[in-house]
């Protein structure tokens, strides 16, 4: 990847690469914009910048992640994602082979998620001004009639569910980036969740909240929802699914898995009496096999997220201002 002179040949090369891997009719129009008929129903859109080091990691890469991240944000409204646009910032010196790997992975992820990448842009920046590759994606999806999913709808008595084990992505990235050799290689959970969501709203159309616990993990996301809905949350430590190897790595690193990022999991909140139905629907879907009910929404003017520990104590799972800093004196 080079910058400046010789740019024309390079631009053609990149164009070609995108056409091959992201191929679809709208992109093939070859315009600076994609023109399409809006699908019927309510539309949702979401945009997200993807920055990750390393670009390739066990369980994924930045290309797939850029699709999954935005597809999932769209899906968390209960929507079926349709289109994506993508903007690439590439650093001079990025091997073309790496770029091809990334774009190919993106194409595969998009096809798997049933979305088309219909517009895109590429910029190359000088060496040292980027971290190899940044990808911003914007998604558009359509919400089925009657679905009303929003972060402010959690009510006391509701159940809190997660779709599977927590902390995989963050630990995978950290151990790969810092080359921390753990006995078992931990893979990121990066995946699109739109199909799981479709199965869930089929079973329980009145899901109150859906959110993917990405940066800041389960703890931060539950605090966001508690604040938005003006409620408290009570979760039970033993009920939270965490893989043994993730738990072991977190213990060694001194990290609390509840604050570690995920890229293929969701939190669902629904009426308490619908929870078992929803759980059953999640567990029959391949992406929700390890789903669990982890707690419930409660009335709480303090809007605390609190956790009953395995020892029977109850600890506040608080917002953190930054990284996990020791508080014990």
């Amino acid at each position: 990847m080079s910058h400046g002179s010789g740019g024309r040949a390079m631009a053609q090369l990149i164009d070609e690469l995108f056409r091959v891997h992201l191929e679809n009719a709208l992109l093939a129009q070859g315009n600076d914009q994609a023109l399409f008929e809006p699908p019927p129903g309510r539309l949702v859109t979401s945009t997200d910048g993807h920055v990750i080091s390393p670009l390739f990691f066990p369980g994924g890469d930045i290309g797939a992640l850029a699709v999954h991240g935005t597809v999932n944000d769209v899906a968390m409204a209960g929507a079926r994602p349709l289109y994506l646009t993508a903007s690439f910032i590439l650093e001079e010196g990025l091997p073309l082979a790496d770029l091809e790997r990334i774009v190919a992975s993106m194409g595969a992820a998009a096809r798997a998620a049933g979305v088309q990448v219909i517009a895109g842009d590429t910029k190359v920046v000088e060496r040292g001004k980027g971290d190899g590759c940044f990808i911003s994606t914007t998604g558009i999806g359509v919400v089925p009639d009657g679905i009303q999913i929003s972060g402010d709808r959690a009510q006391p008595g509701d159940a809190i569910l997660v779709s599977g084990s927590l902390g995989d992505h963050g630990v995978a990235i950290l151990s790969k980036r810092e080359n921390l050799g753990f006995e078992t290689e931990i893979a990121s959970d990066s995946q699109s969740l739109h199909d799981l969501v479709a199965a869930m709203i089929e079973a329980v159309p009145d899901i109150h909240c859906l959110r993917d616990p990405t940066r800041g993990g389960l703890a931060t996301t539950l605090n966001e929802l508690a604040l938005q809905s003006r409620v408290g949350m009570q979760i039970r430590e033993p009920a939270i699914p965490i893989r043994a190897e993730v738990s072991a790595a977190c213990e060694l690193l001194g990290l609390d898995p509840l604050y570690v990022a995920n890229e293929g999991k969701l939190i669902a909140i629904c009426a308490g009496d619908r929870a078992e139905t929803l759980l059953a629907a999640m567990r029959t879907h391949p992406k929700g096999r390890e789903a669990a009910i982890i707690g419930q929404v409660v009335t709480d003017p303090h809007q605390f997220v609190q956790m009953e520990t395995a020892f029977g104590g109850s600890r506040i799972v608080d917002w953190l201002a930054g990284e996990q800093l020791p508080r014990i004196c």
């Binding site: 990290l255 104590g313 608080d318 990284e323 020791p326």
Partner: protein, 831 residues
């Protein structure tokens, strides 16, 4: 000089009757002060009146000046037990003399009512419950103006019965008469009660069934737990005995048989068992899920304590005070011989001290009356939670722990834990300031009289909060760890309660700088809501402020050298501090020295796993490969090599959750791990350091490992490398661990003294202040004190509030009251 006299200045003869108005300041309201005045005036045959007002108590008295002198003298001597006279001012009073002495009701709104601390049963009340002829014989809620519950039962001000949980009980005529009679010890005693009209006590099982059946305790009912050895058999055997007189006696019998009884006391629940019964103590540990943290003990009287522990006059006095704290005492070497059996080893594993308290309520006195051996009286909770205060809650939460519940119907409104103290160098050193001590106001030194009103919210663990106004500071009872959800809720409620009880609307709110402390978050929110000015005070500066305020260092007395050693606090440079030498006072400070920074691989994990600290210390001080080369055969190094230290090395090198710290608390952990103490983990805070000190006390007085003081660095650095080399050489030479522990303590004390002395000399000062939880280590504290004094330095230490974070709010308040607005951001630079 003028020969004119104003109308108030007249020549007076000693025999001439004159009016005087006498202003008494101090702790004089709600403690039975006015009846004392009334009694003394009556006894002296003096006319006048007394009332409470906004500044304390105002007395008007008519008599000769000699009579009034004598009265004031008597008042100083006979100040009620819960009162404290800070000053008496006398002025002539021109009004005509009345014909008798009266107690005058104060005008509403004028009185700063406040509320005093819960006080241990006075001797007069104790005598009544022991007297079969008294109407309060064996009545567990007997109290008077000089003793009984206060803070634990109050809901709102003014401190009247209606605003306490005693509102549920209507005074009977006999009690009402006492309440109304100024000559009675119970005049205006709000919690006054008797068997006719007051609270009742009963004994139940987990289902709430009354265990005190008419025919005595039925073994099949009381034997709730078959696992307690011999419990059912003993219960059956005793069923033939005389039926217990009441629930308390029944509970006492259950305890004798090895049962665990939840007992509702003054400020919360205890879990009790026979401290000399190893099986009962072990069962309690297991059920409470408290692995190693020592249990407190309660003994009937000083003789029982003396049979087991060394007891100095100062310690005996502290035990018997109205605070009645848990006092940490050294066990007698020959202790076992003097009682029916030794205290079970499971009471305080790994420690040479025992924590004793005396019965501080009539209920406790009655419970222990037949016990010539101590009871375990540990907080009624599951490990890490705050203790229960409510009957229903106790029945639920203690269901898996207790065999029976001794309950009563006097509601505990505010949780007030037992205070904990020890005596070092004849002075009381608080480890936890709660029941009996809070909310006693603390007088501040000159300079704070006109300071603005401050609410300081303390730290994250061992939290207490502080109100400052009118030259005094009111530190709340120990509230506990704010990461615990129940405690966090109580904390917010207590902030409201204290502001209401002391009618305190803060102009300034002081908090710690830590971005994630709950107390800081609440402070920021309150400041935004109320418009109060927010002052963030750096953690160790607050510790310095706390010791200055505690030692009544005057506001304008100038800076001192502060040595602040603790676990961890958020530093001004965003790293984690804990081994600090500061130059400063209430208004400004600068960091002039600290322990050499090292990494904490795993952050909070490293606090719980001392082996991480050991690796980090060795790596940063000497280099790990060099250690392996020179001392690789040592057991402690071999053990380290079997752990994932390669990962730790990566974490430190790459900065993955390996925050840098200067914590001396963590240095103690490393030391402990080097000697094989708590290598894998600690079961309670500071366990490694406490066990290390216990070890050190067995081998005092043999040299010390010096640290290097690097004065070329700015700030100066304490480098532990020479200490580690000498220590590892000793280990290799087979020097006993106790000796090594002792040499570490001695060396650290010398190092602190040397550092402080050099700093004092550099800055032309003579005073050194010591604070932070590490100085609760008696061995280190005593040695440091001695070494500092040997260098001719004056030393300020804590005597009124804890050196640990329990005293932090006092320092925050004192600093925020006088510091410039940008205090936290602009430490003083240079001089």
């Amino acid at each position: 000089m003028s020969n004119h006299h104003s109308s108030s200045q007249r020549l007076r003869l000693h025999t001439e009757t004159e009016g005087e108005s006498i202003r008494v300041r101090g702790l004089v309201q709600g403690v039975g002060f006015r009846p004392t005045v009334w009694r003394l005036a009556r006894a002296a045959g003096l006319a006048g009146d007394v009332c409470n007002d906004g500044e304390g108590v105002l007395i008007r008295l008519w008599g000769t000046s000699a009579e009034i002198d004598a009265f004031c003298h008597a008042l100083m001597i006979e100040c009620p037990p819960l009162g404290r006279i800070d000053g008496i001012e006398r002025r002539p009073c021109e009004a005509p003399a009345p014909d008798s002495f009266r107690i005058v009701e104060s005008e509403a709104g004028l009185v700063r009512t406040g509320v005093v601390a819960d006080a241990a049963t006075c001797e007069a009340c104790a005598a009544e419950i022991a007297d079969p002829g008294d109407r309060r014989y064996r009545y567990p809620f007997t109290n008077c103006t000089h003793c009984g519950p206060r803070l634990s039962i109050i809901r709102a001000i003014p401190y009247d019965r209606a605003n306490t949980s005693m509102a549920a009980f209507q005074l009977c005529p006999a009690c009402a008469a006492e309440y109304a009679d100024p000559a009675d010890r119970r005049f205006h005693a709000q919690p006054n009660a008797c068997p006719v009209c007051g609270p009742k006590v009963w004994l139940t099982d987990a289902e709430g069934r009354d265990l005190l059946a008419a025919d005595g305790l039925k073994p099949d009912v009381v034997a709730a737990d078959d696992e307690t050895p011999g419990f059912a058999e003993a219960a059956a055997a005793t069923a033939a005995d005389r039926a217990p007189r009441d629930a308390i006696e029944a509970a006492s019998r259950l305890l004798e048989r090895g049962a665990i009884v939840a007992i509702k006391g003054v400020g919360g629940f205890h879990l009790a068992c026979d401290a000399t019964n190893p099986a009962a103590v072990a069962t309690l540990r297991e059920r409470k899920r408290r692995a190693a943290k020592p249990f407190a003990l309660m003994a009937r009287d000083l003789d029982v304590v003396r049979a087991l522990c060394e007891l100095s006059p100062a310690e005996a006095e502290l035990l018997s005070s109205t605070v009645a704290p848990i006092v940490l005492l050294d066990q007698r070497v020959d202790g076992a011989a003097k009682t029916s059996g030794p205290v079970a080893a499971e009471v305080a594993p790994g420690q040479s001290a025992l924590g004793f308290m005396l019965p501080y309520s009539p209920l406790h006195r009655l419970l222990l009356q037949d016990w010539d051996r101590p009871l375990v009286m540990t907080s009624g909770n599951l490990s890490d939670e705050p203790q229960c205060i409510d009957n229903a809650d106790a029945l639920t939460r203690l269901a898996g722990i207790a065999d029976a519940w001794l309950l009563h119907d006097r509601e505990i409104v505010n949780r007030v834990d037992d205070s904990v103290a020890r005596v070092i160098q004849v002075r009381t050193r608080w480890l936890r300031r709660a029941r009996g001590a809070a909310p006693m106001p603390l007088a501040l030194a000159a300079g704070f009289e006109a300071a603005p009103r401050v609410l300081a919210l303390g730290g994250e663990l061992k939290n207490s909060l502080c109100l400052l106004s009118q030259g005094q500071a009111t530190l709340s009872q120990h509230l506990g760890d704010l990461e615990e959800a129940r405690t966090a809720r109580e904390f917010e409620r207590t902030v409201d309660l204290y502001q209401a009880l002391f009618e305190h609307a803060p102009e300034i709110i002081a908090v710690d700088c830590h971005p994630d402390y709950r107390s800081s978050a609440l402070g920021r929110r309150l400041a935004a809501e109320t418009g109060a000015r927010l002052v963030e005070v750096q953690h160790h500066a607050a510790h310095l402020g706390a010791v200055l305020a505690d030692a009544e260092w005057p506001l304008d007395a100038g800076p001192v050298i502060g040595v602040i050693f603790d676990g961890l606090g958020y530093g001004a440079d965003q790293t984690i501090w804990g081994g600090e030498c500061l130059l400063g006072d209430y208004r400004q400070w600068q960091r002039i020295g600290h322990l050499r920074p090292f990494a904490l691989p795993g952050g909070e994990r490293a606090i719980r796993e001392p082996w991480r600290c050991l690796y980090a210390q060795l790596e940063s001080s000497l280099g790990w490969p060099q250690c392996v080369e020179r001392w690789g055969d040592l057991e402690s190094l071999r053990a380290l090599r079997e752990r994932p230290i390669a990962l730790l090395a990566e974490m430190i090198q790459k900065g993955v959750n390996a925050p840098r710290t200067t914590s001396v608390g963590r240095l103690f952990d490393a030391l402990a791990a080097a000697l094989g103490i708590c290598v894998d983990g600690i079961a309670y805070e500071a366990q490694a350091a406490i066990e290390l000190e216990t070890l050190a006390r067995r081998a005092l007085g043999e040299g010390g490992y010096a640290f290097a003081i690097d004065t070329r660095a700015e700030p100066w650095q304490l480098d532990p490398a020479p200490m580690w080399s000498a220590l590892l050489d000793d280990l290799a030479a087979g020097v006993p661990a106790a000796m090594i522990a002792a040499r570490f303590h001695a060396g650290l004390a010398e190092t602190v003294a040397e550092l402080a002395a050099r700093a004092a000399q550099r800055h032309g000062l003579e005073t050194v202040a010591l604070s932070g939880g590490v100085f609760q280590n008696r061995t280190l504290f005593e040695a440091t004190l001695k070494a500092l004094r040997a260098r001719g330095l004056q030393v300020l230490t804590h005597t009124r509030v804890p050196a640990n974070d329990g005293g932090l709010a006092l320092g925050q308040a004192a600093i925020a009251a006088v510091a410039p607005p940008i205090y936290a951001q602009s430490p003083l630079r240079g001089r």
